[in-house]
Amino acid sequence: MTCQDLDLRLDDWLDGALTGDAAREVESHLAGCAACRERERELRQLLAHAAALPRSLAPARDLWPGIAERIGGGWLGWGARGFQPLALAAAAVVVLGLAALVLTRLAPERVRTVTMPAATPSATTFVAGGSAADPVLAQAEREYEEAAKALLEALQRHRGMLPAEDLARVESNLQVIDRALAEVREALVKDPANPELNRMLVATHRKKVDVLRRVVRLSTAL
């Protein structure tokens, strides 16, 4: 066996794919060839490196929101850029429209209460004089977002109960609200102390939670 022959068979030998005479030929060559023994040593070292690599690696960021947005049709999406007060007005209109839709479909005795996150009293504190960088505002936002997330999850569980056209309208309305939220946030980055913007932010969060609460109640009552 030449060194070139060994090079061709070394992989199979190390992987245990050679038996009998074929394996003995490789072993015999290695016993008498220092250069090939060195090659074998390097290859074993490489395979040890590879075997020691963890098969699981953590991504640097949470990838789930992007997945949820794509498969859930944008339930959790944060939309447009640039502050457009019109979007806020639109959000208010669709919220009112949605509330009307929900109220006309529901008889009060059919409403079943869904477990809701606690109210967010800190939000009122922040309205009085908060700013985008204000920790109270940040806390209020977190609480509203947690409430909205819990409601979205509840809605996902019960979405099969809602007629498709109603679901589409709800989703579309939520997207408008999310766009409005994104716009207010962006405006707050430029003008964090603006009390009007702060009030808008909290009001929009509250609207989103209200809408979700009503829709979840509707979906569980149908």
Partner: protein, 196 residues
């Protein structure tokens, strides 16, 4: 000795029961997800994201692309979930999907914009997730990123993931002999990098 054997058998039974419980929980989550439960699907994602990301990262050598690929795998998994019958583990069902997404996406991107995937992009390697190096002075992740894509894929699947040439041939649509040849090439290039 009988006592020891009894302990071993008992431990094995406990491990088997735990495995059965895990499979049962997983199957329940899959059934819920198949019925449209996004929360159940998120739990399946959380259980499997690291394995899927690890494989995507090693097949693409680009952490940013690996993140996109991981998301694409789970989006496609959601869409194809009705075809999962629970005969294997969910992770086993995801595996060929992951390989397919990672390699086909890389190929299509290369065709689309002639982009060289990260192997010559030092900035992306700087951001790469690091594995604990068993020996200082040799970064296998970095060396793998310099391999030609075909050789890298076979090396990752065979020597890191522990797949056989027959399995690799099926996953990549190659002849087993081609898989062996690619592995030989990859090992030679990496051995040279290790020796230098």
């Amino acid at each position: 000795m009988e006592g020891l054997v009894g302990v071993v058998i008992g431990d094995t039974r406990i491990a088997m029961r735990e495995d059965e419980d895990r499979r049962a929980t997983e199957l329940r989550l899959v059934r819920q997800a198949q019925a449209g439960d996004l929360v159940a699907f998120e739990r399946l994602y959380r259980e499997n994201e690291r394995k899927v990301f690890g494989l995507c990262f090693r097949l693409s050598s680009d952490p940013a692309l690996a993140e996109e690929l991981t998301q694409e795998v789970f989006v496609r998994a959601w869409r194809k979930l009705s075809s999962f019958r629970g005969e294997s583990a969910f992770s086993s069902w995801l595996y060929p999907l992951t390989v397919n997404v990672a390699l086909s996406e890389r190929r299509s991107r290369r065709r689309r914009d002639a982009r060289i995937i990260a192997t010559e992009d030092p900035a992306s390697l700087e951001r790469a997730p690091r594995s604990p190096a068993p020996e200082a002075g040799f970064d296998l992740e970095k060396a793998m990123a310099t391999l030609p894509p075909g050789a890298r894929a076979v090396f990752v699947l065979h020597d890191v993931e522990g797949r056989t040439h027959e399995e690799i041939a099926q996953l990549l649509g190659l002849a087993p002999g081609t898989s062996k040849a690619q592995l030989h090439r990859a090992r030679r290039l990496l051995r040279e990098a290790l020796a230098s």
